[in-house]
């Protein structure tokens, strides 16, 4: 390599290959994504553009560098299938017998099936009516769809109604940080996209489901330690205004107890930036099942639009309420 042009060509070739790999192809593959029908089969398109205030909130999120402490990438280790009974049917004795034989199978093939607490309870103390109370309820968890389908068939033949649920799992999901892994579609209408690289604070990909209350978000921005004990987050008081009360208190004023309260005659109200940021945070709830991230949304909610977070709570977020204060 004694010639300048040769060195140039080498560098050109190497950089061009990586440019094709990580600039051109991603643009072709994910830069041109379109809204899709969600995998639940309902005529719901996903993603939907965020409301205007939330889009302004994204700018506040960007300007203040929230992404340096909060990631928005939930991971999952895999998906499992769960068998749930939605209706006990008329021949309950046969249903219970079928369930118990499935419970036996969990002993024989622990690699394929694990019994969920509901079934485990039934095995130890046997009032069988307990087993079928509080439906719909998941009984078994496994990893093989084929055997799961067979089990559903066995249960269905007893006049009960069983269903097969696809349940993503993983440490992040168990923390209640999301319902399924984050995928490229979730960011389609956001600009700039800020997936974050560190978890100095908790992941925010699904914070809108976890903490849907705008007032809570505002309080938390003003005084994080007030609502989350031991939080290391700095307060964002420059997003709020402390002003004298004129002609009665503003309906927007924060309700601040104890040492956080403003002196009497004053109130703390959020500036537009704070309201926008809170609206953005609440709008973060990627909950549509997609073909590349399948999950089963609880059947009653399957037909509702994906943008109503409270209604489409799926069965899998078992830990969500418990970890709510960890935002």
């Amino acid at each position: 390599m004694n010639y300048g042009p040769l060195v140039f060509l080498a560098a050109f070739f190497a950089l061009a290959s990586s440019w094709c790999g990580f600039v051109l192809t991603p643009q072709l593959q994910i830069g041109r994504l379109q809204q899709t029908n969600t995998a639940s089969g309902a005529a719901v398109t996903y993603p939907v553009s965020r409301p205007g205030l939330a889009r302004q909130g994204l700018e506040v999120y960007r300007a203040n560098g929230c992404a340096y402490c909060h990631s928005q990438q939930v991971g999952q280790s895999g998906t499992a299938v769960e068998i749930a009974l939605t209706d006990a049917g008329t021949n309950q004795a046969a249903t219970v017998a079928a369930l118990l034989s499935l419970a036996k199978a969990t002993n024989d093939e622990p690699a394929v099936w694990t019994a969920l607490p509901a079934l485990e309870m039934a095995r130890s103390n046997s009032p069988a009516t307990n087993l079928l109370s509080g439906l719909p309820k998941a009984f078994l968890r496994g990893s093989n769809p084929a055997t799961a389908k067979a089990a559903v068939k066995a249960l269905d033949s007893t006049s009960a109604k069983a269903e097969l649920r696809i349940v993503p799992f993983g440490a992040d999901l168990a923390r209640g940080w999301g319902k399924r892994r984050t995928v490229a579609e979730d960011f389609l209408f956001d600009s700039p996209v800020m997936p974050g690289s560190q978890r100095i604070g908790p992941d925010l990909a699904d914070v809108g489901t976890r903490l849907p209350d705008v007032q809570w978000q505002l309080l938390h921005l003003y005084a994080p330690q007030l609502v989350v004990k031991g939080s290391a987050m700095p307060p964002y008081r420059f997003l709020f205004e402390k002003r004298a009360v004129e002609r009665g208190q503003s309906p927007e004023a924060l309700v601040l107890p104890g040492k956080f309260a403003p002196p009497s005659g004053y109130e703390v109200v959020p500036k537009p930036a704070a309201k926008a940021l809170a609206a953005y945070l609440v709008s973060l709830h990627p909950d549509a099942p997609l073909f590349d991230a399948p999950m089963t949304v609880a059947s009653a909610a399957a037909a509702t639009p994906t943008n109503s977070p409270a209604a489409s709570e799926p069965a899998a977020t078992n830990a969500a309420p418990a970890t709510a204060p960890a935002k």
Partner: protein, 455 residues
């Protein structure tokens, strides 16, 4: 051997860049003011460090080496000066932009579009003439370092303009933005820093130990591995993108170990297995430290690319620790060493106090260690605990605090090192101007005296 005052100016300019970098090199500043919130100070500090110091010092050293290795003068020095001014203006505007909330939101590319265009213009002005210098070299035989330098000169404008155009100008949609931002970061931190840093290593180590570089072909391997595979890293395993992207990054980063091994072998044989010469010269101390950091950092990234381990360190403090080991432990340290060698030659004087140079080395080395080791350990612990959903998140966050406190000590030491570096260089420059003023005074008086004598 000819030298130009242009390069002096360039280095003076990088001193100005450094002042900025020192001012901002204090992250973790928490205050009630919008400008000083963590999410703004942190990118400002990172950008001052990257664009203010690392890139600028890298360019200065690159141009000097190009002129030196080509046995020629820097072409069009005034344009280089204008370019450097433009660059510094751009960096200053960019930092102000970030502090007032104008950050772009892409890591390592936070400077807003107006500042980025100034920076780019400045770079072009400096580099076009760097390339001309390369072209009009009088020594036709190319030395190893020249491949690295030449490739680097051309690498930055392509990646920087691509990233800025596609992220700020003609925005692409959705996750493609994040992929391009990761691609750019990787090309800057791994490839560009690697190219310039290794060019300096391959030049200064043989030169200062008066030995020949062991193998040109091994260096060629390093070069190819670095540009081919270095540029494919950077997509984190967690990224919500099609799986082939993080997977190819894993493979490329794993192959990066070959680059590290080839550098290690080459240097070991060049030195004949002796480490002693490294302690003899202040510049070599810095470069030796950088080399060790490069090897350790390279192995760490290579091993952590392994998916099972990579999952562990995702989103933890391990990542900043690894990045700092690469950008500061390796690149900045090598640049310090190079500047300590070049600067006295440019002005034709010695440093006021060699003791201060030595002090800078020990302080900087301790600073890097105090920053990297606790954060790496703390990050791994944090990663282990993040995998257990029953450990509350606030407890995990609290668990990292002791490590963070130790690393702040590292930060302080590094900042102190910067003050010393600035003092050393300022002393040198002052000496130079005093000498210049004295000679100018003499010249002036010499002219006056005969004039007085004639009538």
């Amino acid at each position: 051997m000819l030298f130009l005052s242009a390069a002096v100016w360039l280095l003076v300019a990088s001193v100005f860049g450094l002042i900025a970098s020192i001012k901002f090199h204090a992250p973790g500043f928490l205050a009630d003011s919008a400008c000083l919130t963590y999410g703004r100070v942190r990118p400002a500090s990172a950008n001052a460090m990257l664009y203010g110091f690392c890139l600028q010092a890298g360019l200065g050293v690159a141009l000097w080496m190009l002129a030196r290795l080509g046995r020629t003068m820097l072409a069009a020095p005034w344009l280089v000066i204008v370019g450097a001014l433009c660059w510094n203006l751009g960096v200053a505007a960019g930092l102000l932009g970030i502090l007032t909330g104008g950050s772009t939101g892409f890591e390592n590319l936070e400077m807003p579009a107006y500042a980025a265009s100034l920076v780019f213009l400045g770079y072009l002005m400096m580099v076009v003439w760097g390339v001309l210098t390369f072209h009009q070299r009088r020594e036709r035989q190319l030395y190893v370092s020249q491949w690295f330098l030449f490739a680097a000169l051309f690498w930055f404008p392509w990646t920087y303009s691509t990233a800025n155009l596609l992220l700020l100008g003609f925005q692409v949609r959705g996750m493609a933005q994040a992929v391009i931002a990761w691609w750019y970061s990787d090309n800057l931190l791994v490839v560009w820093f690697g190219l310039i840093g290794l060019a300096a290593v391959f030049y200064f180590v043989p030169k200062l130990t008066s030995r020949d570089l062991h193998s040109r072909y091994l260096a060629l391997l390093t070069f190819w591995m670095l540009i081919l595979f270095g540029s494919w890293g950077g997509i984190p395993a967690s990224a919500p993108v099609p799986a082939w992207m993080p997977a190819s990054s894993v493979v490329a980063t794993g192959l990066g170990v070959v680059t590290v091994i080839s550098v290690f072998l080459n240097m070991r044989r060049t030195l004949g297995g002796k480490c002693l010469p490294f302690m003899s010269d202040p510049s070599l101390k810095f470069i030796g430290f950088g080399l060790v950091a490069f090897v350790i950092g390279g192995f760490a990234s290579g091993i952590m690319a392994w998916p099972a381990l990579g999952q562990l360190t995702l989103f933890t403090w391990f990542i900043p620790a690894r990045d700092l080991l690469n950008s500061y432990g390796f690149f900045a340290m090598v640049m310090f060493g190079a500047v300590y060698y070049i600067a006295p030659q440019l002005v034709g004087r010695q440093f006021l106090s060699p003791k201060l140079v030595r002090a800078h080395f020990w302080i900087a080395a301790a600073g890097v260690l105090l920053f990297v080791v606790p954060l790496a350990v703390g990050g791994i612990l944090q990663g282990l605990r993040l995998r257990h959903a029953d450990i509350a998140f606030t407890d995990i966050a609290k668990g990292t605090l002791p490590f963070l406190r130790v690393s702040t000590m590292g930060d302080l030491l590094m900042a102190l090192g910067h003050v010393l570096f600035l003092a050393n260089l300022a002393g040198l420059v002052l000496q130079f101007y005093r000498a210049r003023a004295v000679s100018a005074w003499k010249e002036a008086t010499a002219e006056i005296q005969p004039a007085e004598a004639t009538p």
